[in-house]
Amino acid sequence: MMTSELDRPRDWTWWVVAYVIAAIVIKVQVFSGTGLLDTFAFLALLASLFLASSVAMAPWARAAIFVVLLMAVIPYIGLRNTFYLDVVTQVGIFAALALGLNIVVGFAGLLDLGFVAFFAVGAYTWAIFGSAQANQFLSIGATASFFPLPPDFFFVILMLTVIIAATAGVLLGLPVLRLRGDYLAIVTLGFGEVIRVLANNLDKPVNITNGPRGITGIGQPLSSVAKALGTSLIPPFKWQALIYYALVLAVIGLAIFFTRRLDNSKIGRAWVAIREDEVAAQAMGVPLVRTKLIAFATGASFAGVMGALFASKQTFISPESFDFNQSIGVLAMVVLGGLGSVRGAIVGAAIVTILNLQVLKALSTWLNGLRADGVEILGYSLANLPAQFEPSKYERLIFGLILIAMMLYRPQGLVPEKRRAHELARKAGEINISAGAKKL
């Protein structure tokens, strides 16, 4: 009894359970709005998911926390205030993108700066056929308006986007995989721009994407279910938000499952081998081109699926949603979380998305409220602050600073991959003047 107590890491089960219950109660009972404190209460709640997945605790309690939070508490909070559902759904969408990019950059070590292109491919696939847009260039049968496809065809198209996006990944990969490191980076960057410019320009001579005006009226799957469930208390749009939440949760679940399986499989080890030393890997019989192509195709298919979901959730897409900054944003999520780490990708996506959509907004609204009330600091009334100091104008600036600070504080990422954490710990011992070695 005594010895096993010493061997085992300390069991945190009850502390975590206590924390989770406290967080739920505080969020549901005390801070249920969207202000600054409400936002922090929500973050504390989400943090319990992270806590449950990272400390040593009884498996049943871990499972229970996940089920209760994801299946009951978040939907409950979300139905009261759909903004929370929207945030969690966005986090899910970007988490899937980050997981996909993590395969390409984190596992296989191929720097891809145009990842959002595959997201765009998926989004436009459903947008074109799930709205009346396809009538512009396709006429099927006698009726002039065959499209939009019925909203529930979404699930068929979703399967299709997996194939289309993966094909796009292979098509990009085939000619350029000979390139090394940063040459690959610039070509993928170029590819991303090409896709965006094509989406922006393919309204003439044949109108395929409707150009800069974007595509409106994109169908939402299961909208009939949402309508049927709608009551005066919980209108259909809230149910629809819940449906997206469930869909995204399902896709994320699948994505994590596949990623974990791949990571531990032969192909996963081949990726890491290529990342660490391409020549040695090749000498050991790893087929370079095929292994890299699989990485590209898998990553792309994750992005494609989420693109289709994104398009239908927004009901409108335009090329502006798929610019270079988005690619960089997803890369920031992966690096912030920790390259090659599955949990890291999700944590990174959650932090970047929540920071941008929620925390910075709540912060600036709060500061603005102080200003409007004429709160004084050291005898200076904030109401006299010139318009140039409007807090809501500096969200991007603050985000930039936070990005720098977080990377300087934890260069290995917030949840580093175990293998790499080990490497860094070892290297820190040596005297080191070399600039971040040759590896990614």
Binding site: I26, Q29, G33, F83, K393, R396
Partner: protein, 397 residues
């Protein structure tokens, strides 16, 4: 094992305290009403976005008493959509969940208004646009109840410009360039279709990326083609540059564009000596020509230390519409806070003489009669010269 029991007791205690003790509600007298301005406050479009916000802020100071006299607290909540549809939609999802928010003044970019208004429509949150001229803004069935605008439409503005080009400028051959944004492409296409109909030859119809600064590809060609007019559908940041490079390259064609060029900075960017033979169509008489707006311009200047932009007055009038509508519906509601549906319905009944002209809406949310103005650009903004003022009813009204 005793520890476990104490921990369980602890947990139960927290839960009980939470469920019974802390749920308290504070009752204010009549509550706060928040009005949101939703426009780009950061990024390249922020001068225009901010001018909307500042205009609205002034209107709140002037007409906020409509609500405060009824016992409400009124608060302006500025939101930044970063001219990005994703940000706009995410913000919209947050805004609809704050019950104090009864109306939105925004946006600047049609590409942001369209998806964001889909979200507002779900919660019947009314939006009054000060600047979105794209027909889709009010033409969509799904947002019929809540989408309004107090400015004109591209499908009228383009033909008005074309009319001026053909009749007054006697153009025979033109270039039509657009910046490949939802706004620029819309107004340029409307212009192109209208001049083609009048038998004018369109020698080049092309887009340029909206971040492009190098127009030499188009202008070198124009030096040989010698078109009568180069029409640019886009914003003044690029339009001013195009005009400047045109004159530097000694292209003598007339330069024309839509209301995106309507800014005091057009001359600054182009350089005052380069502003020759330049016109734009816009939606509302320039402030300097309106006696009613003179005071507005002065107050704006002293308060914010800069001149009002074209959309400042629209921001002002939009906010006034919203305040009036909320005040009317509150009165109809027995002095209580009105519902969002009531406010949305009341917006359509608002009528007053604003800075930008007579404000009243048709059943689609378009302004009933919009003024379309052709402006000859002078070397400085106050030397801008109104060529003609055309009043047009919104189509389908």
């Amino acid at each position: 094992m005793n520890h476990k029991r104490t921990r369980l007791a602890l947990i139960a205690g927290i839960a009980a305290a939470g469920l019974f003790g802390l749920g308290s509600a504070s009752a204010a007298d009549k509550g706060t009403i928040k009005i949101v301005t939703h426009s780009p406050l950061s990024g390249p479009n922020s001068p225009s976005g901010e001018s909307i916000k500042l205009g609205a802020q002034l209107a709140l100071e002037d007409y906020g008493k409509l609500l405060t006299s009824q016992g409400f607290k009124v608060q302006l909540q500025p939101e930044d959509d970063q001219a990005n549809p994703n940000v706009g939609v995410a913000n919209a999802n947050r805004l609809i969940n704050d019950p104090d928010i009864l109306a939105v003044v925004g946006h600047y970019n049609s590409g942001v208004f369209i998806p964001s208004s889909e979200v507002y429509a779900k919660a019947n949150l009314v939006a009054v646009s000060p600047a979105n001229t794209n027909p889709q803004v009010t033409d969509r069935e799904s947002t019929r109840a809540i989408a309004n605008r107090i400015c004109g439409r591209d499908d009228v503005q383009g033909p008005v410009g074309a009319d001026f080009a053909v009749k007054d400028l006697k153009a025979k051959k033109v270039y039509v360039i657009n910046d490949k944004t939802a706004y620029g492409a819309g107004v340029a296409d409307a212009f192109e279709a209208a001049v083609k109909k009048a038998g004018v030859k369109v020698m080049l119809a092309s887009g340029v990326d909206d971040k492009e600064t190098d127009f030499s590809s188009v202008l070198n060609r124009a030096a040989i083609d010698k078109p009568d007019i180069i029409y640019f559908g886009g914003y003044y940041q690029q339009g001013g540059l195009l005009l400047k490079q045109m004159r530097q390259k000694k292209v003598g064609a007339v330069f024309m564009g839509g209301d995106g060029l309507d800014s005091g900075d057009l001359q600054k960017i182009a350089g005052s000596e380069n502003v020759t033979k330049a016109y734009f169509t816009t939606l509302g008489v320039p402030l300097s020509k309106l006696p009613a707006a003179k005071k507005f311009a002065e107050v704006y200047k002293t308060k914010f230390n800069k001149d009002p932009e074209a959309y400042s007055a629209y921001g002002y009038d939009s906010m006034r519409v919203v305040l009036q509508a909320i005040a009317d519906s509150a009165k109809a509601n027995g002095g209580n806070k009105p519902s969002r549906e009531q406010v949305a319905a009341a917006v359509r009944k608002v009528k007053f003489d604003g800075l930008t002209g007579k404000i009243s809406f048709n059943s689609r949310g378009d302004i009933e009669v919009a003024k379309y103005v052709v402006v000859g650009v002078g070397p400085t903004p106050d030397k801008n010269d109104v060529k003609s003022i055309i009043e047009k009813k919104a189509p389908n009204s």
